[in-house]
Amino acid sequence: MRSRPVFDKFGLRLLGVILVLGLLLAGSLLLGLATGSSRASLADGWQALWGGGSSTMATIIWQIRLPRVLLAATVGATLALGGLVFQALLRNPLAEPYILGVSGGSAIGAISGMLLGFSSFPGVTLASFSGSMAVLAVVLLLTGSSRRLRASISKDGLLLGGVMMNAFCGAVIMFLISISRHTEMQQILFWLMGDFSLMTRERLPLLLLAVPCFLLIAIHARPMNLLLLGAEAAAGMGVAVSRTIVLLLVATTFMVSVVVSQAGLIGFVGLVVPHVFRVLLGPDHRLLVPASLLGGASYLIVCDLLARLLPAAGEMPVGILTALIGAPLFIFLLWRAKK
């Protein structure tokens, strides 16, 4: 192997991506903390952020805004990364983190928990997490041995199985909604649209469960590049294909389940963020993994910030904004790339 300089061309690009998106994330974090629905001025927020200002402002920033900004960041990072992994594993541009039925499973869990009168934490959270884990178990059982899993991926069996799973869960969800009472229905709908507003500081450590998955996915960036060439080619280049696929599948589903159980179903982030960076940076997962992680986090913080600021009867569910902003943005990028 020939020796390389410390910063080759790729190293410089990686550093650039991390630096730019890292700054963007830091900026969104500060902005997310400094502004909010109480219409206190940005200056007030800024002052309180550095220890000045009233005690009410301090409570708002550290007890109310901080948990939700950190939740938004983690959810954004997780979903964007989850989408990236599934798009690579399933070799399908329409794949997103919920594609294996995670959303349906966790929704059934969460809604059942609400109808049974569980407390929102830990009751509904645990029910939601169990629901998605049950779906993962069913998917893995259906695909059976890792050899069959490989075949299943190449023949889109895994993908179709997941789609069916979500369709089935969708029907169960509609049924549960139809038998719910008015007050429960509100709670259910807000969960289905995604909700950051009830996050507390005490629950923040739970989000750390996603971090080992981030690392695991990061070290598999190169195998993911090779998997894009097809399972046979990847195996030929020394990738333990089946093991890698199962590992990534389980890690991704696990981290997505963690964030969904805390925030409900936030749509579209996982689909669009990886595509945006693919258009901007090319297909190399060694760049796409950190880019999706940091970019997804910033994107959801900004969407949540807008959701808090836009006037509505109450607060606008953030899931509306992710697609409302993301879809036109992506169409613009596609159009520009074609030109």
Binding site: G36, S37, S38, R39, A40, T56, T59, I60, Q63, I64, R65, S119, S120, F121, R181, H182, T183, Q186, Q187, F190, S197, L198, T200, R308, A313, G314, E315
Partner: protein, 302 residues
């Protein structure tokens, strides 16, 4: 011994500090069965549901109100209050920013998680949970006491009870309680079950709820309605205030229905029926003449 003396001293000290902190505040059990510490003189109150805002205005204590929820539209003045989200989707940050010394919440509707978080942030929350008309009247007394308007609360409650008894006495001599279909939504058709305020109002006004049952807000289709064949149909006004003809048109498609034959399709204002506020009594007084016009000669209609 020294240890016990020290312990005793510390315990006494802690109790003393606690009692000093309690000065200007008192402990009450709210209607949700929670023990809460409320200020003797709440000065910055946020009402977490439109019905609570209405009660506070009725008590004449609106100067204490610093915030209300969306749709707090009665009386007109209440529309100017700063908003803290809708009662099912409260905006925690806006509530905290108003620096309330008391929030008044309603158990049916306000999310429990938000109430818990307000308490965690040191804001006392008093929860009301009226489940029948009698308890709505009690809420007026309780909130009167809570907001330093005890006399006004008792007086208002007494007047509500008098008006309710007035309606009851008028319809007491009835020989027949007409069956009533109370439509609260048109598409899908939704009526009211047994455990609702409206069911109670129908009974008090001398009617029989045709859709009584365990489900609070049951859905109906026309097939079921033709079988029910109610004698009176009461329709609440809807968003956008469509004209009366528009609201009764779906019913007129079925000329064989008793309510259509006898022209007993009536429109009432939804605001008088869908909130557990003192206006339910207005609702009762509006409903009774529709069910028993014989006891309410036109000129004496309240």
């Amino acid at each position: 011994m020294v240890f016990f003396a020290k312990t005793f001293f510390w315990a006494a000290f802690v109790l003393l500090v606690a009692s000093i902190q309690q000065a200007g505040a008192r402990q009450l059990v709210d209607q949700a069965g929670r023990l809460c510490t409320v200020p003797d003189e709440p000065l910055r109150v946020v009402a977490l549901a439109p019905s609570i805002t209405e009660v506070i205005y009725d008590l004449g204590e609106q100067q204490r109100l610093v915030g209300a929820t969306e749709y707090s539209n009665y009386p007109d003045e209440a529309k100017k209050l700063p908003r803290v989200g809708s009662y099912v989707r409260l905006d925690l940050e806006r509530i905290v920013a108003l620096r309330p010394d008391l929030c008044i919440a309603i158990k049916d509707g306000n999310p429990k998680q938000v109430v818990d978080r307000l308490e965690d942030l040191g804001i006392p929350v008093f929860v009301i949970h009226p489940q029948n008309l009698d308890q709505v009247v009690q809420v007026v007394e309780i909130l009167g006491d809570l907001l330093g308007a005890k006399a006004r609360g008792l007086e208002l409650a007494a007047s509500m009870r008098r008006r309710i008894d007035g309606v009851r006495q008028r319809v007491a001599a009835r020989r027949h309680s007409p069956s009533v279909f109370f439509q609260i939504a048109e598409s899908p058709l939704v009526a009211v079950g047994t455990r609702t305020f409206i069911h109670e109002l129908i009974s008090m006004a001398g009617g029989t709820n045709a859709t009584a049952g365990a489900e609070p807000y049951p859905r109906y289709n026309w097939e079921e309605i033709l079988l029910l064949d109610p004698e009176v149909v009461v329709i609440t006004t809807m968003v956008g205030n469509p004209p009366a003809d528009r609201l009764t048109a779906p019913w007129r498609q079925w000329p064989e229905l008793r309510a259509v034959v006898k022209e007993r399709l009536h429109i009432v204002s939804a605001d008088l029926f869908n909130r557990p506020s003192p206006r339910l009594v207005d609702g009762l007084e509006a409903l009774a003449p529709l069910l028993h016009p014989e006891f309410f000669p036109k000129e004496a209609t309240p």
